[in-house]
Symmetry: C2
Subunit: 349 residues, 2 copies
Amino acid sequence: MSWEDKVRKVVPYVPGEQPGFADMVKLNTNESPYPPSPLVAEELRLMEAEEMRLYPDPEATQLTAALASYYHTDSDHIHVGVGSDDVLSQIFLAFFTNGEQILFPEITYSFYEVWADLYRIPYRKIALHEDWSLPAEAFRSEGGIIFPNPNAPTGLCESREFVRTVAANNPDCVVVVDEAYIDFGGESAAPLTEEFDNLLVVQTFSKSRAMAGMRIGFAIGSPKLIAALKAVKYSINSYTMSRAAIRLGLAALRDEKYFKKITGDIMSTRERVKTELQKLGFVFPDSKANFIFARHPRIPGKELYELLRSQNIFVRHFDTPLLTDYLRITVGTDEQMDRLLDFLRVYLG
Amino acid sequence: MSWEDKVRKVVPYVPGEQPGFADMVKLNTNESPYPPSPLVAEELRLMEAEEMRLYPDPEATQLTAALASYYHTDSDHIHVGVGSDDVLSQIFLAFFTNGEQILFPEITYSFYEVWADLYRIPYRKIALHEDWSLPAEAFRSEGGIIFPNPNAPTGLCESREFVRTVAANNPDCVVVVDEAYIDFGGESAAPLTEEFDNLLVVQTFSKSRAMAGMRIGFAIGSPKLIAALKAVKYSINSYTMSRAAIRLGLAALRDEKYFKKITGDIMSTRERVKTELQKLGFVFPDSKANFIFARHPRIPGKELYELLRSQNIFVRHFDTPLLTDYLRITVGTDEQMDRLLDFLRVYLG
């Protein structure tokens, strides 16, 4: 058997395009339209190339402590990684490779399926309610449970009580809530991790903290969960967080006022865009994320995606049967959204 | 069964300490005693916090292309990651989980065993020759082969012909040469990857390019190997390389003159320290790395480690039967090495 036959066969996740056109309206990867906090720019000015010669702190102690303090808990409840994808990948490996079937929603972040396949984890997809809300009662597992809240790409957000129900119903497996989009109006389940030692909450600096380019994500959970997660991390890569990520992440976390301002602005813009899209005949679940997942009854999703692309407006289209009618539109600045809305008004009117 | 019984059991790698004392002589994690190239400092000054709001290029196209050009090959021969540990972990998962036994040296980088255990890969350790050189003929496998060159922590370097023999002897598995320390006088096997499509060479910016704090490593190999490796990478984390890592890595790569200067200085210091250590009665293999793995016939390794520590001089001691007599001493600046030598002269004399 040749070495080529022995290569692990995988079907990777495909991230949104990162085209580099100057005049482009980039509404395709749920980045923040606003820059990181001015404190990040200030910290960047204080960084010295000299310090880069030394390994970073493998524990990212300062960043972990700052996150712990932010979430009113202790450092042994926090684990950081290279974006939430890094943390989620470690979670799948640490908690979901027990041989039992794990559960996630039928419509959800498509990376879950990729990690499950990579680590040879059996899984079952849970059908959503007709309104795309998640059926709490259907989530009963011995292997593990993961869902985003708000869900992606629907944008629908479940309550903290929903998470409590799922965590309480599944004491014998780890329950993971992927809160990448929680800061845009949702209610985080982080406080519930003090109550349920099998509950992990995962968040990211990529959306609400406008730092996708620095790769910072983290998990909040009981010390037992975090210790197990760290053991897996230290079995993969001792030093995941660069000195730059640690310093700039810390700076972002210090500026609560700016964080409130930009997430507030994005939410206001989102609500305004919802009203305008509705007037134009679009249909969409009531998103609590920094994107709107919308379809127009008269135009196929792919057609509209191509059309917008020809206008230098990039949104995301998922070419799967369940989602093909829809476009995932990131909430940008008011100016960016006006360019989108202006075009749609002319085209549809 | 409780969720705790279902957690993946691992024994993680333990990185060297990162103590933060001001006056410390840090010779314990093989970092460069010199800062990164001035071009890195310049690039750092040009970075804007604003750009951090956007995801990085998932392909790190520019850095990959620069590495390809540096090694006189094409971009599809290069794969970058968050330090060489990130790349090596992906390699174990991509090429070594075929069910067959892999081989690595008995004395070697102890992370290999950790990755093998993590991914449930059977392995066998190959005994070294009495002089700690690697026995080419013993490396015959259907599962996979990995060894560092120079080897760690011995510092001994095999020739390019050695690598050619192992690659040629094992056409049915992937052969990985971990060249973390190759730039301190060794001969890279990179050119052989054009000849053997089953040969992967892994290098890092952490040692010879003085950028341990930024987390940059890479693999060089045939397009088929690199494509398989990338598929695994895209099944773990779309965006591993931050915008900062890509920009600063590129800058470091541009300054060949500085690279030659600091690696040359480290080699000169190493040779001088070898002479002095020999005069003091130390015994060590003839290192071609940026460290010397030495023992003193009169003092147990652990005792000397503790003694140096009490002088604020940090070296690395591995508390395993085969290595316990030895200390791994990173080659620092001449001043740092003089502090070490001065102390040893007084203590031993």
